[in-house]
């Protein structure tokens, strides 16, 4: 640009269009996107061309063909005549089950241990510390093997059982419980449960309002518990006891092979599920305990001192002052523990728990369609993890400090 030109420049600077920072940044973005698109496209093209050249079957058609193998644990209907797609669905549900229960129990156990770690009782604090240090520092796969193979050997054999109150039984084939059988009219009990939950919701709102207005407290917790227990119970008897129990069948006579628990009677948890569940819960709980401890210690001591000075009890101080503030520190690392637990559940493959990876691996081997299966795995785990993140981030925002 020459000096003479400078005089013509008014308040709006005239630059060449390719020097406009806005245009430039857009152009770079577009070039990057095009480049990425090209890379993905050419990978796809090359993969399919090479697979075709090697006569390896490709495509998603296999999902509709008959699987032909049996799966140990199925939450919904599945037989050997079902399709590969259905088999994957069964595997996915099993992953959901272990992840869901694992997250809940790991959180509960983690909170208990984390608080125990801070206990003023020397023994309790040390026991919690030893637990955390031992469990956290052993590889998870090793712990899964421990629970599966060591615990398996300790259980009573297949023809024997250890019973609790004669309703819950344990032996090497798993934990056997009575299964509920829903007869006619059992929907009334279901409605009663929903009504109780709705009732508790309104009760809490009413009690809170009353406390704010009149300063009187109402025993919400005990009332809620009673409501949840007695309302369905009354409905159960009123409807003529529609829900029965199907006990697992245990035979001690007849040919040896038929003795023990009969298959498909009662409710059964396989030892594979139990081992994986215990390993994941105890392992993740150790990490959660440390997170909880860090969270509680992050709350200034003055907070509880102030609370005590106001005459608030220890219990209420913890519940109303310390934990709500600690949660802001706890939740973000808690999210990654939940994600870890979910992803770690894929170690199930080592002990025959049929999760998504185990079932997918079987399909991969039966059909040979490695790329499709691996892609499915990645997409599904990514979706699960992102969903957990989303929910937990939403929760984190809802408890975050609000600037006023």
């Amino acid at each position: 640009m020459s000096i003479q030109d400078a005089g013509h420049v008014d308040d709006q600077a005239k630059v060449a269009f390719f020097n406009d920072p806005k245009v430039r940044s857009w152009a770079y973005q577009i070039i990057l996107v095009l480049f990425l698109g090209w890379v993905i496209w050419s990978i796809r093209e090359n993969v399919s061309a090479n697979l075709e050249a090697q006569n390896i079957a490709t495509g998603w058609g296999f999902l509709g063909t008959t699987a032909g193998f049996s799966i140990l644990q199925k939450l919904v209907f599945y037989t050997e005549a079902s399709s590969y797609g259905r088999a994957l669905w069964i595997g996915l549900l099993n992953t959901f089950l272990i992840a869901f229960l694992g997250v809940i129990f790991a959180t509960i156990l983690g909170f208990i241990i984390g608080i125990a770690r801070l206990s003023s009782n020397w023994i309790v604090a040390k026991v919690a510390m030893v637990y955390i240090e031992v469990v956290r520092n052993l590889p998870l796969l090793l712990q899964i093997f421990f629970w599966y193979f060591a615990a398996l050997r300790a259980l009573p054999g297949k023809r024997e059982k250890a019973s609790f109150l004669d309703t819950i039984h344990l032996n090497i084939t798993g934990l056997k419980m009575p299964a509920p059988v829903f007869g006619e009219g059992s929907s009334i009990v279901g409605i009663a449960v929903l009504a109780a939950i709705g009732g508790i919701f309104f009760l809490r709102r009413w009690a809170k309002k009353r406390q704010e207005e009149k300063g009187e407290q109402f025993p919400v917790f005990l009332t809620s518990l009673g409501l949840l227990f007695f309302l369905p119970l009354i409905a159960f008897f009123a409807a003529g006891q529609p829900i029965g129990l199907e006990h697992p069948v245990f035979s001690e006579t007849g040919p040896m092979i038929r003795r023990g628990f009969a298959l498909n009677t009662g409710l059964s948890l396989s030892p594979e599920f139990i081992a994986l569940f215990l390993a994941l819960v105890t392992y993740t709980a150790a990490f959660i305990a440390e997170i909880v401890r860090a969270g509680i210690m992050a709350v200034d001591k003055g907070q509880s001192e102030a609370s005590h000075a106001l005459g608030v009890s220890n219990n209420f101080t913890l519940r109303l002052v310390v934990i709500p503030q600690a949660m802001r520190v706890i939740v973000p690392p808690l999210i990654s523990q939940y994600l870890n637990l979910t992803k770690n559940s894929s170690l199930a493959v080592a002990i025959a728990y049929p999760d998504l990876v185990a079932v997918g691996g079987t399909i991969l081997n039966q059909t040979g369609q490695a790329i499709e299966i691996v892609t499915l795995w990645m997409v599904i785990y990514l979706t699960i993890s992102l969903s957990i993140s989303m929910v937990m981030n939403w929760y984190n925002r809802s408890i975050a400090l609000v600037g006023r």
Partner: protein, 339 residues
């Protein structure tokens, strides 16, 4: 250039099976690197099993040793890659191994849709069941209600489903990825039944705490022809693997063994002469030396020798020749003539 970029990208994506998928001449590659890369099991006595010094032995291992003997005149020029049932086909497709010799059943799906070819059958097997003798079970038809332990991703898993379903029996399948875990779980009493190829049952039984407490039931519920596998689209290599096996079967039929090969070299029998390379140029046609078969027999042995050494009556496995006897003895082992 484009391929090179793609290879890198794919390698990073750990899919890895595509770019290196060699359709080029495997034999040339093998000669260039001076050894055969052979995919075997993670330890199955009698078929492919490493000892405490890391030396592999067994029938499947001998297929690879014979290949090396045919190509290099040196049966030790083999490297072994232990593979799980799940990994084996991908390893072959990707070119990580040159030949898969891992008690692998020849099925229609595997032959047609995986880009693989089965180069003959070195062991005719069938699926069987093993149970504790204390159960008093005499037949597989009494197994209704049993828990069954097996490997995932095998034909076994499918056969057992077919068998129990067609006989209207209930069962619970506990499927592990590794053979050792199947053995451990069965040994711990998790399952009543252990099922796999019958040869595998004899072999795995040796790993149990009390092998004598377990019996293999008489029923064979499937056909399991086991053999070496190569990539599709390389006919020269396919032929070489195929004829390596045939040479060993032919040698047994002609009475040529590692013990008598010296005197057999001077035999007047034209079939023996063709086998040992003093007549014709069959090795050349396969892309190796004409003494290929002589080297195989000298260094590895004929089919019968390999069988007896690996799984025969004098081994812990104690397997009879049965259907694996030569066709002339009423078995199924039959090789086309070398002429």
């Amino acid at each position: 250039m484009k391929k090179a970029i793609i290879s890198a990208a794919l390698g990073a994506a750990a899919i890895g099976m595509v770019a290196t998928g060699a359709t080029a001449a495997t034999l040339d590659d093998v000669k260039a690197k001076d050894f055969v890369q052979c995919g075997v099991s993670q330890g199955l006595a009698g078929f492919s099993n490493p000892d405490d010094k890391g030396n592999w032995t067994g029938m499947d291992v001998d297929v690879c040793r014979a290949l090396a003997a045919a190509i290099f005149g040196d049966a030790t020029k083999v490297k072994f890659t232990p593979l799980s049932a799940k990994e084996r086909f991908t390893a072959l497709q990707s070119g990580e191994i040159d030949v898969l010799s891992r008690n692998t059943t020849w099925t229609a799906t595997r032959d047609t849709s995986l880009g693989l070819n089965f180069a003959g059958v070195n062991y005719y097997d069938g699926q069987g069941f093993m149970v504790r003798s204390s159960l008093g079970v005499k037949s597989a038809l009494e197994l209704s209600g049993a828990s069954v332990c097996t490997n995932t991703g095998t034909t076994t898993e499918l056969n057992v489903a077919d068998y129990f379903r067609s006989n209207k029996m209930e069962y619970e399948l506990v499927a592990f990825e590794k053979a050792d875990e199947v053995v451990a779980a069965y040994d711990a009493g998790r399952c009543d039944v252990f099922t796999t190829d019958q040869s595998g049952l004899y072999s795995q039984r040796l790993k149990l705490t009390n092998p004598g407490d377990h019996v293999v039931l008489p029923e064979i519920i499937s056909k399991e022809p086991l053999g070496p596998v190569v990539r599709q689209g390389d006919d020269q290599w396919f032929n070489l693997v195929k004829w390596t096996h045939f040479a060993m079967v032919n040698a047994e039929e002609l009475g040529v063994s590692s013990a008598n090969i010296g005197e057999m070299m001077g035999s007047d029998n034209p079939a023996v002469k063709r086998l040992l390379g003093s007549e014709g140029a069959f090795g050349e046609a396969l892309g190796v030396g004409n003494d290929w078969a002589a080297n195989i027999i000298k260094m590895v042995g004929n089919y019968g020798e390999v069988f007896d050494r690996a799984v025969g009556p004098d081994t812990p496995l104690k397997i009879e020749r049965g259907v694996n006897a030569l066709w002339s003895d009423g078995g199924l082992q039959y090789a086309p003539p070398i002429r």
